[in-house]
Amino acid sequence: MFTDFLYVLRNYGMKTSFNEWNSLMDALELNLNEASLTEFYYMARALLVKRESDYDRFDQAFLEYFKEVKTVEELPKELLDWLSRAHEQTPYDKAEVDARFEGLSLEEIRRMMEERLKEQKEQHHGGNKWIGTGGTSAFGHSGYSPKGIRVGGPGRNRSALQVAEARNYRDFRDDSVLQIRQFQVALKKLRLLSCREDGPKSELNVEKTIEKTCDQGGRLELVMERPRKNQTKLLLLMDSGGSMWSYAELCSRLFQAVNQASHFKDLKIYYFHNCFYDYLFTTPSCSWKDKISTEWVLYNLKEEYKVILVGDGAMAPSELLYRGGSLDYFHSNDQTGLYWLETLKQRFPSAVWLNPIRESHWDYTYGSYTIGLIRERIPMFPLTAAGLEAGVAVLKKGETGL
């Protein structure tokens, strides 16, 4: 069953599973594509693609698999089989065919189709595409299969390959939106439930209800309570410096997961470049106009904030240890980076550092010295789903002393 198409899809990074492939086979069995390749394109897309960011991958895979097919004969045998079955299956079609093409064998019709295909190629295309814009697909040969393709107004006449080739969904390709779910699930565990002071009492406390009802000698007395709400406040500090660019995609996933997590009571995100000093920044570009005083952040956010730092921690030792060691030539720092790191740790006892560098490399990669210094002060975890989960577990405990 031209299974290699499935593998082409998977090669392009789609996670098409056997279940979905089976559904496609079912659909073909029902002849939902009405024996047309254009319909097959849309049908396969609806069944196999599950997010708009994958549309482009599908288009590419479809092109690769079907572009070599220049004549009807080169089509995968199975598709051809379906084609030949289509006219036998539906009595309506057969009647139509019989009426118009009485005495023609399938072979002859197929040959006619090929001829027409060639004609179209010359007239409308001139290229090497095997289906023209003339409004019929290879299989929707006019008159042969009235149900083949009902083509009408403009924009409808495009063949499957042309649609695929247009790659209309290229802009939707956003690899970073993938797999944020794992991060989201890990972040969900970061919750600290406690009763709110305000809000309606809308939850039934069963234990207390039983107790009260017994006290009343069996007359029902309901005890309602205020539901518990997550009280976690999160402060996210992200390194957006040059060395982090290679991890941009990974960080953006984490960023989206954090941003979409609606269960935090408060969320603050600031950026820094390699190491932070007197100022943090409100935008990833770390431009000077978006600065915010680190001191202001430290003293305006209460200590109950949980802190997640994201950065590779790899820098020149001077950036962490020297006054004036800041990478920014024009804005020298009065205190060392290490000082600020320790101040942060004192203010927010519950803090972890997530590092996109692979854990096994921490000890000998470039910057292993500074990574080590940071690790002595703030627990460090790799920026992976598992690492985040471990980090969240540590954050939940409260104080993250080493």
């Binding site: 939902l32 049908m43 609806a46 997010r51 708009e52 944020i180 989201q184 979409q260």
Partner: protein
């Protein structure tokens, strides 16, 4: 086989019609994603109307649990009733209230079930519905009853992509992304809603609309529902089509954020300045 073709007021693209029909034929839920205002919810209404079926809507909120869609056992009512010796307290079935999914299963005729904005609910919500949507049945332990769909409803699920949906769930759905309509498509949509509108006004409205939509840095792009509102506002206000080239009347109908409005203002001013400059030369 039932065939959906769009309706008088709901103009669907061919691709969307294909997806709906595939989903109906394969008896799988259809998951619809797309920008807000592209008519995701309207689709279910249009399908129900054009196929002559009843529409059941299950609106998902952040607090909705999967269980709510199946049934709710009203224990409190039962406890109260038992106090006063009301009739039929021993019949648990009386206190089982079916949710929207349960209702759809119980109907004799096929229905269209819309699960609206599934991404609003908890992360695990879609996973809790896998079996029910697959097998179209669920079990009520309180009464020992299995509710099984007599006729499988056509299930339409919409999502605004606020949360990623789990893979296991996605695998069971037919997926369709409603792309933002292009100008000819939009013209058909506008005409379906306002058949008497002059062509000249439609042309200038759409021209202005796509100009605004393509402005860079818009926080919230105006969508189909907004352009329809805008046309109504323009018609009521009696605005001449020519005015749209110079300014954007009732911009507040199109743009909902203060920053966006300011930007639109600057855009029109910028164009005026260009015309002035032309006079200088």
């Amino acid at each position: 086989m039932l065939q959906f073709h769009g309706s008088e007021t709901y103009i669907a693209s061919d691709e969307l019609i294909r997806s709906v029909n595939i989903a109906a034929a394969l008896r799988k839920p259809l998951l619809i994603k797309g920008e807000p205002g592209t008519g995701k919810t309207m689709l279910a209404e249009a399908i129900a109307k054009s196929l002559g079926m009843e529409l059941l809507i299950w609106n998902i909120k952040s607090t909705t649990r999967a269980q709510d869609g199946l049934y709710v056992y009203d224990t409190v009512q039962r406890l109260y009733d038992s106090q006063f010796g009301a009739e039929g307290v021993d019949d648990i079935g009386k206190y089982i209230r079916l949710g929207k999914l349960g209702e759809a299963f119980k109907r004799e005729e096929q229905t269209v079930l819309l699960i609206d904005e599934i991404d609003k609910a908890d992360l695990e919500f879609p996973n809790d519905l896998l079996w029910e949507l697959d097998k179209m049945e669920f079990y009520i332990p309180e009464t020992g009853e299995t509710v099984k769909a007599k006729v499988r409803p056509i299930v339409i699920i919409t999502s605004n992509a606020e949360k990623e949906l789990p893979d296991a769930f996605l695998r069971r759905c037919i997926f369709h992304y409603i792309a933002f309509p292009d100008a000819p498509m939009m013209e058909r949509i506008v005409k379906a809603h306002y058949p008497e509108l002059e062509q000249k006004l439609i042309d200038s409205v759409l021209e202005a609309f796509y100009r605004i939509r393509e402005m860079r840095g818009l926080q919230k792009k105006p969508s189909t529902s907004e352009v329809l509102d805008w046309i109504q506002a323009l018609a009521i206000g009696g605005i001449e089509p020519e005015r749209l080239e110079k300014e954007i009347p009732f911009a507040g109908v199109l743009l909902k954020k203060t920053e966006d409005l300011q930007q639109a203002e600057q855009l029109t001013k910028g164009q005026l300045r260009q015309t002035e400059r032309r006079y200088v030369y």
